[in-house]
Each structure stands twice: as structure tokens, then as C-alpha cells.
């Protein structure tokens, strides 16, 4: 017999190292030959899209095209330390560092342009599309290329550093401000339980994720799909089968993760409520996107069957056993 149920999961997540530990990101911006701009930052691309999001923040701040930027984030001998690609902190923390470095770089360009254009002041000078110009008399202008030709590759630079604000919690009471900012979400799922086999099939899901401001909506949606799939595996399939410290399921023929056959077309909704301390309002979402799904599945299984599973994973064997017990040890129906 197949039984349908629906459930919701809601969560909050504090991003960053937290608890008063210095959470520092650094970035450097350098003017290169041909007027190209190098952004040097230790923000690792693990597949989450950091390189693209940080590039977009840099291009927005510098008002130049993406093609004019060289993005260097691979070599410790070239780039400053921007902290770990973890704690959902790269967009917020390193994004802020990139934005600051770009702003400082622009200020430096404006200072130099004032001299080159023989102006009395920096007022009214604007940086846009690879040029510095006087807004109310645009004939007064000089390009990045002209500047680098005169000053030399690598000599004009700007640096930026961002340190997140958290307060260490009291060791006895836990009172403090352990994380900032927090990211929120909610997920609803509809599923079907086969009471004969104990198998769970997800039928529908609506997932609303707060992003502050989405720097790149498709990348946010990609993370939401990935988080959903990972949580699906956590809730229903994945089991290392530990036995006295030994991992018995140590390969993918035994350790089952979701495949495309298990995934559904999740209805992803990005909720925007910009955070004032964030770069263009953007908060981290890399981890939050996995959090509300498993509890929503558990609540939906209860809604479908009246059986509450308090121990993960909800494998068919476990669910079938729980259903049998709920029915007084008899058959499944």
C-alpha cells in the first residue's frame, strides 16, 4: 500500500568561523599590462561558484567587464590569505574583502588620474569601463591602459581586508554573539511511502532559501539542488555501516548516494532581504541549502504513516520494521 504525506523543515544557520575567532579575508587588486586588472584572493573554488561570485563582485565594484579581469586564486606564492572555503563564508567575508580592495584600487587610480589630468582635486572623477574621467567634463579622461603604459605592470595596487564581527560566548552561560550573519530557509516535501517495501519516493518539493541578495541566481539554485540531493542521501540512503571502527560500506557499490533517478525537480525560490554588512547584501548559502530537507522528509514520513523515525538513515529495512512494530508486529498493511 502506498501512503502519501507532506512535511516541512525550517532552519537557521550562522555563517563564518564565529565565536570571536578572528575571521579575516584579504584581497589584492593590481593593474596589469593592456589595462587588465588582476584580482588576487585566496578564495578557493571547490565547485560552489566562489570564483564566479567573487569575480562578479569585483567587476561590479570596478565597473568593468568580466573579460578585463584576471582572477588569481590558486597559488599561495601569489595571493593573500582569504581564509578557508568553508563555513559558508567566501561570498560574505571574502566578497567584502574583494569589494574593499577594488574600492581602494579605484581611489588609488583617481589619485593618480588627478595628477595625470592636471586637476586641482579628485572631486567628480569617476572610474568606469576601464577609464577614469571627469563626469562634468568628460574630455578629461585617461584609460587603465595609458596608466599602466606609463607606470608599469604591477605598480598600481589596492588592498582590502575584511574582519567579521562576532563575540565569544561565555563558557558557563553560552551568552554571546557567536555568528554573523545568519541565513534562513524552509523546505516542504511531499512523498509516498510504500508500506510493503519501506521505500520512500519524493514526489514534490518547494524550497525557499534566504540569500540576502543573490550575486548569481543560477549558482544559488545549483547549490539548492545539490544541497537537496545531499540531504536526500543523508536522510534515506547513506550508511557507512560502521562495525567496531571499521567502515564496511567503503565504495559506491555499497555506500549509496542519490542518483539522477532519485532526484526530483525541486521548486527553488530565492528570498532576498539584503544584509547591510554584506557585499551588495549577499550572505552565504553553501551549507544552509542542505539543512531543512532531512527534517522535512522525516515529518512527511510521519504525516504519511503515523510512524515517527528518530534515527537516521531511514532505510527501507528500518522503515518497514518501524511500520511493522506500529502495527503490532503483524503484516505491513
Amino acid at each position: 500500500m502506498k501512503k502519501r504525506g507532506r512535511g516541512i523543515g525550517v532552519s537557521f544557520y550562522g555563517t563564518g568561523y564565529g565565536n570571536g575567532f578572528p575571521d579575516v579575508s584579504k584581497a589584492k587588486v593590481v593593474l596589469h599590462d593592456e589595462g587588465k586588472v588582476g584580482i588576487y584572493v585566496g578564495g578557493t573554488e571547490v565547485g560552489q561558484g566562489a570564483k564566479t561570485a567573487l569575480l562578479q563582485i569585483g567587476a561590479e565594484t570596478l565597473s568593468i567587464s568580466l573579460e578585463q579581469i584576471l582572477f588569481i586564486s590558486e597559488d599561495t606564492s601569489l595571493m593573500p590569505d582569504s581564509g578557508t572555503a568553508a563555513a559558508s563564508r567566501q561570498t560574505y567575508n571574502t566578497g567584502n574583502a574583494v569589494k574593499k580592495a577594488c574600492e581602494n584600487f579605484k581611489d588609488r587610480l583617481i589619485d593618480i588620474a588627478k595628477e595625470e589630468l592636471e586637476l586641482n582635486s579628485t572631486h567628480g572623477l569617476k572610474v568606469e569601463k576601464g577609464e577614469i574621467y571627469l563626469e562634468f567634463f568628460p574630455d578629461k579622461r585617461i584609460s587603465f591602459k595609458e596608466l599602466v603604459d606609463k607606470y608599469g605592470d604591477g605598480t598600481i595596487q589596492g588592498e582590502g581586508e575584511f574582519i567579521a564581527q562576532t563575540v565569544e560566548m561565555d563558557p558557563e552561560t553560552g551568552q554571546g554573539a557567536p555568528y554573523w550573519p545568519y541565513t534562513f530557509n524552509a523546505c516542504g516535501v511531499e512523498l509516498e511511502v510504500d508500506t510493503l517495501t519501506g521505500q520512500v519516493e519524493i514526489l514534490d518539493a518547494v524550497f525557499a532559501q534566504d540569500a540576502g541578495k543573490a550575486i548569481n541566481p543560477h549558482l544559488v539554485e545549483g547549490q539548492m539542488d545539490g544541497g537537496f540531493a545531499m540531504a536526500l542521501g543523508y536522510a534515506l540512503f547513506e550508511d557507512l555501516k560502521l562495525d567496531k571502527g571499521r567502515i564496511k560500506s567503503n565504495k559506491f557499490s555499497r555506500y549509496l548516494i542519490p542518483t539522477a533517478m532519485d532526484m526530483i525537480d525541486v521548486k527553488n525560490i530565492i528570498v532576498e532581504d539584503p544584509e547591510s554588512t554584506a557585499p551588495y547584501g549577499a550572505k552565504g548559502i553553501g551549507e544552509p541549502v542542505m539543512i531543512p530537507i532531512a527534517p522535512a522528509i522525516l515529518n512527511a514520513i510521519y504525516d504519511a504513516t503515523g510512524v515517527r523515525i528518530k534515527e537516521l538513515p531511514v532505510t527501507p529495512e528500518k522503515l518497514r520494521k518501524a511500520l511493522d512494530e506500529a502495527n503490532g508486529g503483524g503484516g505491513s498493511d
Partner: protein, 424 residues
Amino acid sequence: MKFDIVGKNIIRTDAYSKVTGKALYPQDIYMDNMVYGKTLRSKLPHAYIDIDTSEAEKIEGVIKIFTYKDVPNNSHGVVFKDHEVFCEKKVRRIGDPIAFVVGETEEVCKLALDKIKVDYKELEGVFDPEIAMDENSPKVHGDSNIVYHFKIRKGDIEEGFKNSYVIAENTYKTHMVEHAFLQPEAGVSLIDEEGRVTVMVATQYPHYDREEVASALNIKEEEVRIVNTNIGGAFGGREDISLQIHLALAAYTLKRPVKVVYSREESFIAHAKRHPMIMKCKTGADKDGKLLAMEAEIIGDTGAYASWAPNVLRKAGVHITGPYYIPNVVVDSYAVYTNNPFAGAMRGFGATQVPIAHEQQMDILAEKLGMDPISIRMINIFKQGSVTATGQVLTESVPVEACIKEVVKRMDLFGEEGHNEETW
């Protein structure tokens, strides 16, 4: 505010190289004069060891077998330096690295691994974190298996439960899982043209790797260079050191490029796992569904090494209330050593486990009160200006109500039971 590039669906910069197979991963790197490395790992979860590499060293093609004797500083770790580069006296889990064979080919290295003699004197192990907390149980490190204890004490919990109309009290358990990233660990090390020990590896934090490599080799950080290749997923599983120090030590000693590629099976035992947690939760609410008190005990099994355990169990403790205002809260969150595989960072970092408890508690309370799951959440949900259990004021960007409303609207969730619209 209007933006030119922020908010636009720019195609990711690494998309083209990845979908065409041009992206370079450490597995793809070949260098002239390159040799290979393989790691000998513990077969037992808790034992004293004695190693004899003499037979293995005689195999033709074996260049050197590294053990603890070859490492200037044999300890590393993200919070506590409780990992050994190679175990000296004791192994604490299955998979602990004991030796690193470098040879002309991978096949030679495999032969040598079989010829290294490890004399194990097995010790009683501890695999259940609740048992491990008992002071009479076997110790994994030092005098106690309790690595960390986090506390929240807010308000008057007795009073909160006394005034509660309904109370839900349950124990929830989550299990240990694997990151299952696509690309198993691999790396190539060499001495670069400026004389720096260079490790090409897929890592979440290259500057941290540089610090640990320099520390283990007892050289300056400027003498170490980490080059991040493309990374085939991470999810927290590439935060601890895996093969970086082994590789750097070998290249630094032998002055030849060295390559290591882990199999999927080795990857499973080499890196951290998600902390399994036992969560005992007691939650009370008044007749209207307003939460009055929560008491929670969380026990997290960090296995043989601490890795990020204090930070993970702290995050679990802070987040176990869920995104709800609760005036009276007591939380005790413990990280405990066992002889299980070690647990560390994994997507959500302790905050992924706790909603298994708090979100089921909410539904259980709602049912006891004859309420629907949405209404009970809306009554208690964080809003701008709400204060968390740690006393933090959520001053801005708190759109969790909006998230719930979007889900309810699109799914018509629990619509048939009818919400009390006035509550939200």
C-alpha cells in the same frame, strides 16, 4: 539599487573547462623523473605498534620508506595538534597513517606495503560515545575522552517546564556519513624553480596547508608553496591534512617530483566524516503553542581525532533551538573521542544534525496541541529584533517568515486543515 553584474546569471568561469574535460586535477599531472607514493595504514582501531621496514626496503624500485622518524614535527590538526603525520607508538583508528612508501612505480609501492611488518599489540577500543564518556572506559588520547563541553544557560528552565501545557521529550540519533566528493584525494609535490617545496593538491584552504607543511618540515612558510588545482568537490572533507605533508616530506627529502593518488576505498578512510550525534531534547509549550523551555543534551562522536569537534559541537549547541524564540534554554553539548573514523567538517557543520531533533519536536508539540505544523512555527519564528538563546539580537535580514510563507503558498501545505491566519 541597480546593478550591472551582481544579480546576473553569468555562466560560471570554470564551466567550460570542466564540461570539456580540460580542467586539470592532481590526478592529471605528470612530470619528468616523477616517482610515486603509497600510504601504509592501520588495520586495527586501537593498538600499540612496532614497525619494521627492512624487508620492504630491499625491494627493487623502492626509493625510501618514510615513518615518524623522518618527520621533524610529527603532529598536526586544525584545532588541536592531535594527529600524527605517521603514528609512532599507537594507532587510534582503522586507517591511521603509519608509513609512506616512495618507489619508481605504483606497483613497487604496493609490493612494499605488503612487506612492511607491523607488530600490533591490540588495545581495548571504545566505539560508543556514551560509553566513552565514562571515566573507566579506554582512553583514546590522554586522561579523558571528553574533548569539549559547550553550555547554554538562559532563563529559568524549571519555571519554563512548570508553566508548559505540553512537553515533548525524545532522543534522536544521526549517523556518520561520508562527503562522497567526486575526486578522491591526489597530489603532486616537487621543488620549484625557486627552491620552494611545492604541493599541487585539491584543498579547501591552501594557506592552512602551507602552515602545516612548513611546521611539519620545520621550515619557513615562504619556503612552501601550495598550488590549488581544480577541485572535484569538498563539502568539508578537504579541510584536514590528508596527503599534503607526506608529499612535501618526500619531495623535500628526495628532490624528485612525487605523486599520490588515493583509490575510492582509501579516500573513504583517509578523510573526516560527519559527526554522528545523540540528541536528547525536552521542549515545552503553552496552550497556544508558544515555546517556553528547551533542555537539550548533544553527544557528538568525533572518533579518533578532534579535527573541528569543538566548533562543530558548539555550532550544534547554538542551533538546536531552531529558528525559534525560546525564553528558557539549557544546552549541554559534548564532543567525545572514540576509536571510530574521525569526524570533522561536513556541510552544515553540526547545524545539519540538530534540525532532525528540533523540527520533529515542533511537529510533535503541534500534534499534542491539535495545531498544524505551520501555525506552531509561525508563533515562535525569529523575526527582526528577535533574541537567540545566546542573547544575540537579530537586527536585520531575518526573512524566515517569508521563506515559510513561500513554501506554504506554493504547496498549499496543510491547507486542508486550515491555518489560523491571525497567528501569521
